[in-house]
């Protein structure tokens, strides 16, 4: 089709202007994609949470513990398939800037409840049989160069003192959405040590992790558990893992909103830039459009030329931007792995990129098209010469 040929050559008639516009679109799409990825990284824990798991904690606050004795009562609740428990440890490795999540769990029940953490049989055995053993996610072990058998010392904050652990296994995530930066050790080790040092704090659990038989039963089971401990010394609050994770990030919601807003502002700005380019190019081509109309071409064909040119320019910019999003996200993710254990470009982000590019192109072409179609041929021809 001749119009296609015209619009593509038109797009590259002014190389500098087209090049700069494409560069702008590339940067905008790249920034947009990275910001969207930051947002989804923020929610990574939520996205990876399971619908068949519940978390039970002290109803007053997460910082108050629950008695270990609750585990047997919870196990008897109808619909409960697994019960595991753990404590947030919050230890510091050498210095505070090396932050990573570390907590202790009941290892056997925990690994059964979290099949997404994949551990070789050998590592699993080694971990279970060493009271002072710990396992680490692949990314965490890589970050500090830990090898199995290495001793790692954490400085306790909630539980003061220096704590030595021996790396007994490195787990992998089942897929890319799984956090590979965690540090997990045996709850029994913590409890025994606490019993010696601070006897009053022994046999206390930070949170229970509960598996239910099917997702439909989750709400019922949660209600049953909380009713069970109603009016006891430590009342419980049981919620789905997703709700639990959302509760964690609720306090940072304003930041997420701000990031989302900025990502939209970027698209609006690039829209203005492309609209300006299109306004300039179509003003230059008013004579061409007048000739085409003189020869009998109609408004629809003129519209195709202008929309097509806008689409070619934004399409190229968006394609480069999208391609660059991957390496940029990788670089970004590895520098920020302390904050974002999971930092992947979601397929959805690419669709959003495409959608944004399309909106930019169409918005930029509307007014120039109206103007080009609306002008009388005689006036258009008058502009030539």
């Amino acid at each position: 089709m001749i119009l296609l040929r015209i619009l593509i050559r038109n797009a590259f008639r002014n190389r500098l202007r087209t090049g700069l516009t494409i560069l702008g679109i590339t940067i905008a799409i790249l920034a947009f994609g990275l910001l969207r990825t930051v947002v989804s990284a923020w929610y990574a824990g939520v996205a990876a949470s399971s619908a068949t798991r519940l978390v039970t904690r002290n109803a007053v606050s997460l910082i108050f513990p629950l008695p270990l004795a609750y585990k047997d009562k919870i196990r008897q609740v109808d619909g409960v398939s697994h019960v595991s428990w753990g404590n947030w440890f919050g230890g510091i490795y050498i210095s505070e800037k090396n932050f990573f999540a570390n907590f202790c769990v009941d290892p056997r029940s925990y690994l059964a409840l979290y099949p997404e953490y994949i551990l070789s049989d050998r590592d699993r055995k080694a971990f279970l049989s060493d009271r002072k053993g710990f396992i680490a996610g692949r990314k965490l072990a890589d970050r500090f160069g830990w090898k199995p058998g290495d001793t790692v010392t954490l400085k306790g904050v909630i539980f003061p003192g220096n704590w030595d652990f021996v790396l007994r296994g490195v787990y992998r995530g089942r897929d890319r959405t799984i956090d590979e930066t965690q540090f997990l050790f045996q709850w029994d080790y913590l409890n025994e040590t606490v019993r010696q040092r601070y006897p009053s704090r022994a046999d206390q659990v930070g949170f229970y992790m509960i598996g239910v038989a099917s997702p439909e039963r989750a709400a019922d089971v949660a209600g049953s558990i909380d009713r069970l401990f109603k009016n006891s010394l430590a009342e419980t609050l049981t919620e789905t893992e997703k709700a639990f994770q959302l509760g964690f990030i609720a306090m940072t919601e304003a930041i997420v909103m701000a990031i989302q807003l900025v990502s939209i502002v970027i698209i609006v700005i690039i829209m203005a830039v492309v609209a300006n380019t299109m306004a300039m190019t179509t003003r230059e081509r008013i004579g061409d459009y007048a000739i085409l109309k003189t020869l009998g071409f109609g408004g629809r064909q003129i519209a195709l030329l202008i929309f097509g040119e806008a689409l070619v320019i934004t399409g190229i910019g968006a394609a480069i931007g999208m391609a660059l999003t991957y390496p940029a996200a990788r670089a970004f993710g590895s520098t920020l792995s302390n904050f974002f254990p999971v930092f992947n470009v979601a397929r959805e982000t690419l669709w959003l990129d495409l959608g944004a590019a399309l909106v930019v192109a169409v918005a930029a072409a509307v007014i120039p098209t109206q103007r080009a179609i609306g002008i009388r041929i005689a006036d258009g021809l008058r502009r030539i010469g």
Partner: protein, 237 residues
Amino acid sequence: MTTEAPAPIIDVQGVSKSYRRGELVVPVLHDITFTIAPGEFLSLMGPSGSGKSTLLNLVAGIDHVDGGRIIVEGVDITRLTETELARWRANSVGFIFQFYNLIPVLTALENVELPLHLSGLSRRARREHALTALDLVGLSHRLDHFPGQLSGGEQQRVAIARAVVTDPTVLVADEPTGDLDRVSAGEVLDMMARLNRELGKTIVMVTHDPRAAARAHLKRHLDKGVLSADDPSENPD
């Protein structure tokens, strides 16, 4: 044989046209009436701003009259809708302008093929027609040149090829030699004369150039909205 005049190919009846400039209404043409016989080569002269281009645009169907009728080949073009008029232009009129008005991003061949994209001809037929037209204007050796790589005279010849490639009955030309040197202008005029003589095209040409006007069979003069038969002795121009 009787000497009954042939039916006119262009019949302009009582046409008037004015432009609006803000509040001001500027009358340009007032009650213009004339006819052109098939196969005629007419030149239209007159001072700048007298409305020559305006009249030509009306006859060629790229502008609208305020009043009156224009009948071309039996079709009253003042009654056509915008779409019908566009189709009519594509089929019936060839355009030649002072500044050639080629599409700068298309080669000579592509420019000449351009109007044929509205004709439903096959790709090969389009190409053959375009090659024939370019051959006619002596530019078979410049097919792949872009307008910017051609001289003014060559560009105008490409424009002539584009104007005739659809085989229209009427050609309109607005100062076709206005931007050319004498030699190129002569070539272009020769070509137009040939199109008129050999292919029977009816030509309406606006010009300031008496040498160009001299090539036409009929000269008309437009001044202050009034059309008159041109008398060269009175208007040495």
